[in-house]
């Protein structure tokens, strides 16, 4: 499909996440893509080894992404679920299947630039085969008005010897009411990394995220990193859960939270449980405020305390993950 009419307004917010939005446009960037405009599929582009299918249902779509056995691609698969209306309901049922021995990156963007009371729901299933390397990154933008009601649920199965990385980023704009559940099941020798970042900026923002990894296979390993920031009455509650249920599995949960301004609530908390005596699960958390010295250093460059704080939050949320 060539030159479709997709509202660039929806894609614009990718720039805030430092992603070139042209990559998402069919006929422009490389890589497979699927674009949804409210409840209509406005573009699908396939590449060798990757099958993308969408079926429209009354309030949304069922989207299938199939990565065929042995497919290794550099260019990410681009998925965009957008709405440029203010209200409405969008429901998405993605099924993402990566067959054995595949390497793929998926970049999904959920963007509702004019949202003022709209609802976006997702119910996703991911099946990742053996010996795969899959990265799923999802960025969100819910506009600057009052945000959206957003409730995605994902079940992710990671097969033997596979590496799965999940990146969820909701740090731009006003999120609104957001409730996210992610359950990841890790099989033998698999590696799971999950990074979740969210920023609540005012009293309209209430974000709850539960990110869980179940280490079900021998020698499975995982790291969850949660970063939460809340200011001016925003509320962000994040729970990073890891269960060690198999021999010699190893999990770690790392949480950082920053809370600023009156009435804000911010919690990023680890919950860990080991049911297998040979498993090891650990956690660490850093809470509170930025060190005064960091603020002083930025203020000595002429920034006000508030500007300095905003720079530090921006830095914390952008910080690249190192494993």
């Amino acid at each position: 499909m060539k030159n479709i009419d997709y509202p660039t307004e929806i894609l614009q917010s990718l720039e805030d996440y430092k992603i070139d939005f042209r990559e998402f446009l069919p006929g422009h960037g490389k890589g497979a893509k699927l674009l949804l405009n409210f409840n209509k599929i406005s573009g699908i582009e396939q590449v060798d080894g990757i099958i993308l299918k969408g079926r429209e249902i009354p309030n949304g779509i069922i989207a299938d992404v199939l990565i065929k056995k042995g497919t290794k691609v550099e260019e990410p698969v681009h998925l965009c679920f957008g709405i440029n209306k203010e209200t409405g309901i969008q429901e998405i049922f993605p099924r993402i299947i990566a067959e054995d021995n595949t390497n793929v990156k998926i970049q999904a963007h959920c963007s509702f630039p004019n949202a003022d009371g709209l609802t976006h729901k997702m119910f996703g299933h991911f099946y990742i085969g053996k010996n795969c390397e899959v990265t799923y990154s999802e960025t969100h933008y819910h506009g600057e008005n009052s945000g959206a009601l957003v409730a995605p649920v994902s079940y992710i199965y990671v097969g033997e010897n596979s590496v799965f990385e999940n990146n969820f980023n909701l740090t731009k704009g006003t999120p609104g009411k957001v409730k996210i559940l992610i359950d990841i099941y890790a099989l033998d020798n698999s590696v799971v990394r999950s990074n979740v970042k969210a920023y609540g900026k005012n009293s309209k923002d209430s974000i709850r995220i539960r990110d869980s990894v179940f280490l079900e296979g021998e020698n499975a390993r995982s790291v969850i990193k949660l970063k939460a920031a809340a200011k001016d009455g925003g509320e962000v509650l994040m729970y990073g859960i890891t269960e060690g249920n198999a021999p010699h599995c190893n999990g770690h949960v790392e949480c950082s939270e920053i809370v600023l301004g009156r009435g804000s609530i911010c919690r990023a908390r680890p919950f860990i449980r080991a049911t297998d005596p040979t498993s090891s699960v650990s956690h660490e958390a850093s809470l509170g405020r930025f060190p005064q010295k960091w603020l002083d250093e930025l203020m000595a460059k002429g920034l006000s305390e508030e500007e300095a704080t905003n720079i530090l939050i921006e830095a914390m949320l952008q910080e690249e993950e190192k494993f």
Binding site: K293, L298, A300, K301, A315, E319, E320
Partner: protein
Amino acid sequence: MLLELKEVTIPTLDQKCVIINEVSFGIKEGSIHAIIGPNGSGKSTLAYAIMGLGNYKVLHGKILFDGFDITNLSITERAKLGITLAWQEPARIDGLSVYRYITLGLKDTTKMREKVVEALNIVNLEPEKYINRKIDESLSGGERKRVELAAAIAMEPRLIILDEPDSGLDFIVLEDFMNIFEKIKRLNMTILLITHREDIGMVADYGTLLWRGDHIITDVFPKVMLRYCAKAGLKEFCKRTLFKDGAICFDDEYIDRIFREEGVS
């Protein structure tokens, strides 16, 4: 005088003891002015108080910048007037790039890239190699300090306070640092330099000696250094190394007199 301290007293945060005791001296515009003194004599405290950090409040006395009383101004206000400080151990902030960090203090936002490149050049960091690096643990201690210096220079301040810019650096880079100070000076910035090293201090035009919170002397740097040696009882060191091979020599008689004044023979 660009900066003047008038009987400045700084207590500890709990106000139980005095760290800086009625200190008065001035810093001439365009000069390199070193503050020396043993560990704990109050050098950093004085630097922080000039910058206006919350934990170092002036109890009595005044700080004047260009004749203007800044004693009660915030850090931000002082920075906007043209004062900045490069910390002894600057923070590592993982998510910030060198580029972003240096641009934070720029007065106007035109030609940002050129200004960053220029500042990195002054501190001898290759711009292409460093501009996109993060201000994180991957920078060595010396590189981090240079980035700090570059950020301070890019602000084009009138007074730049350097708290032990030499600490943690080896002799090989010493000369390089001396060149950097000279370059900063040529940009018409005044430097307040805190250092433990007499060789670094030698670039200074003037100096101030602090001793347990008291002001001992402010004068041309060699004289200040000589007084420091006298107070510390380092006559042999002084005669042998410091002023014989150094740029400025005092005759032995003069050295003896200064030592006598300090009650050391």
